[in-house]
Amino acid sequence: MAYYAEKNFFEDEQLIELVTSILSGNLTLEWYQAQGARVRARPADPRRGLTYEDCNLGPYGYDAIPELIRNRYSMAARGSVLVTKLPDLGYTVNRRSDVWSDNVVTLYEEAKSRRWAPAVDVPWTELAARADPVREAAMAQVCTFLEEVALVAMEMPSKWVFSINQEFLELKSFLCAQMIDEARHVEACRKRALASGQGLGRASASAEQALKELLSAETYPEASLGMNLLLGGFVVAMYRAIAALAGMRADRLLGTLAMQDVARSVAYGVGHMRYHLAHQPAKAVALGEYLDRTEHVVLGIAGSPEFLEPLVLLAAGSLDRERLAAGSRFARRWFRAALEEYFERAAAAGLGDRRERSRLPRLDS
């Protein structure tokens, strides 16, 4: 173990005296006068319950978080009365605009209210009637691929949450919601693949190389830009395609419910970049360069044979040559639309028009 108590408390006479005295009825009540600001949070709309927005009050509120957290490295609740000797818990992300987004509080509340459980919210028994082995093989392969992606998307927030200052409670809570969202996608996609009669398909070396590059981002803003805004947008498009191409309610539900979750990550990604660049405009250059060298991962992921071919097949519905041609037209439209949405989001986030600068449009020729 790496951290020990400052003393052996079992040998601490002072402690034993203190506890004995309190348990004899002699309370110190030192804490009794240590009162923070007196507030009374109330639900603005009782139908919505008590939201974090309702608790955005005075020194307790997220509006009161300064840009730089210089003097709070413990887990003391924001706004509580600090005492001396609070330990340093080792946070390394202490700048508000490195993590914050104006929509993060709303997105956290939404994540909770739109929760779903794959075990029971997808009508699995419907699958029993499904008997098209080509379609099922394609679906099993897409779901193997999406399980792989979700495993990485679950790890990204988990990797950072530990290092982010506790003052950013609402943001950290949103990262937790992202983790459970992605756990749900791991689960739903694995279950769908193993219910197909085909078993799991093949892992994707190109996608994993690309995902590892995204996961290894050195700063949180880069990680969020890569995972939420860049990859997230394409994953939303993937789930949207599954829903659009679904031949039954189970797949449509899986696609739309998962899409709804990932859309929150994308919304956070855009909001976060906007906030980040509004407060640190000089970072636009570095982040633009990050995208210059990182955008290629989209091709490694969305263009991997383990995703793109089954997508064509799902759209085609059969291995017939003409149907495959139609399926490939769908895939081209799909890629073009996802790419265009990405450029729109990047521009909305303050990263400028990347259409000219990016290497990705060249692929669509």
Partner: protein, 374 residues
């Protein structure tokens, strides 16, 4: 950049060519031919839906997972075909018995179906109509401040380990994700309740924060889980149960019932994990005792946290008058004894019955029992 893909995909002509061929309908379909176990998993119980237990089949399942994961170092889903070129994700924990727990799949499924919402599942409007007297209000706000402060440690610690576990242990990773969300919700509900009492937040607790740091800095997942899930959360579970009992309103009792349900799951994982470790990795036993020696030292040092002990006495006795304090002390004594009894009982059930004899905490509790009035 700390890692760059072995290929820049937009510059790799072979990859681009293949992408463009696919976009013209020229498919290779090699993924369709990979040898695989073809299964069609179905819900064993339709009301429960399709669970991870229903997926426990052959190489896809967790039962056949080996003790040492030697092959998969990537994010390849367990049982999927693994092509050349998968990256090594540098998992630090690839031994099953360092992370596994009996019934892990059940804990995960339960967590997913029992998610609740702190914003809407508490009768906040009803709570607004209750004005707590100063002594109760402040004591309650102080207890809630403490709970707000400590809850997120149980997010940060497991989250820190998630990325270090081999991807084959995805049921454990998924469970960690549910726990992270549970704890975020707990921090949220205690904060919201503190801010709705009319008193706001009170004083932070240095003594408890030292304990949090100890939990953060554990050397292994097994040690982190032991101190976090079994010891700390086990003690907090007893605290929640008593807090429900001493809560000032019905709405507050509901609050504690909801958090208790989550906490019990985390403790359940901790117990079943320790049991698994002792059954499959017995040489860990001594290291576990060493870790508990220090964990219990922190627990005993928690006596300095008057900002937890004293509000509890006031809430238990329902006030600050002498007779209230006397009653509060009586209940608090019972609570503390119950808390430590349950802790040692859990350890014994997991296969560590000798802990009582070895523990200084147990000896101190025994001494205290002797000095207490019958």
């Amino acid at each position: 950049m700390s890692y760059l893909s072995t290929i820049d995909f937009t510059e790799d002509q072979a990859f681009v060519d293949r992408f463009q061929r696919t976009m013209r309908g020229d498919l290779e379909l090699s993924w369709m031919d990979v040898p695989r176990e073809r299964v069609a998993c179905r819900p064993e119980n339709a009301r429960r839906g399709l669970t991870f237990r229903d997926l426990d089949v052959g190489a896809y399942g967790f039962t056949e997972m080996p003790e040492l994961i030697r092959e998969n170092r990537s994010f390849a889903p367990r049982g999927a075909a693994m092509p050349e070129g998968l990256p090594d994700l540098q998992a630090e924990v690839s031994r099953k018995s360092e992370v596994w727990a009996y019934n892990i799949e059940g804990y995960y499924e339960e967590a997913m179906t029992r998610q609740w919402n702190a914003t809407t599942d508490i009768p906040w409007a009803e709570l607004q109509s209750v004005d707590l007297p100063e002594d109760i209000g402040k004591a309650y706000a102080q207890l809630l401040t403490f709970l707000t402060e400590v809850e997120m440690i149980a997010t940060d610690v497991p989250a820190k380990w998630m990325g270090r576990l081999n991807a084959d242990f995805f049921e454990v990773k998924n469970f960690i994700a549910t726990q992270a969300m549970d704890e975020a919700r707990h921090a949220e509900i205690f904060r919201k309740r503190a801010l709705s009492t009319g008193w706001g937040l009170m004083r932070a607790s240095a003594q408890n924060e030292f304990n949090l740091k100890f939990l953060r800095d554990a050397d292994s997942f097994a040690e982190a889980s032991l101190a976090l899930h079994l010891q700390a959360e086990g003690m907090v579970l007893t605290l929640f149960r008593f807090s429900e009992y001493i809560s000032p309103t019905e709405g507050d009792k509901k609050l504690f019932r909801l958090v208790m349900q989550d906490e019990a799951r985390h403790v359940g994982y901790g117990m079943q994990h320790l049991k698994w470790v002792l059954d499959h990795f017995p040489e860990r036993r001594e290291a576990i005792h060493h870790h508990l020696d220090e964990a219990e030292n922190f627990v005993f040092g928690g006596g300095y946290a008057t900002e937890v002990l004293e509000p509890f006495i006031i809430l238990s006795g329902k006030g600050l008058k002498k007779e209230n304090i006397a009653e509060g002390v009586r209940i608090t004594n019972a609570f503390q004894l119950k808390q430590t009894d349950e802790y040692f009982e859990r350890l014994a059930k997991c296969g560590l019955p000798e802990r009582r004899e070895r523990s200084r905490l147990w000896k101190m509790v025994e001494m205290r029992k002797q000095t207490m009035p019958a």
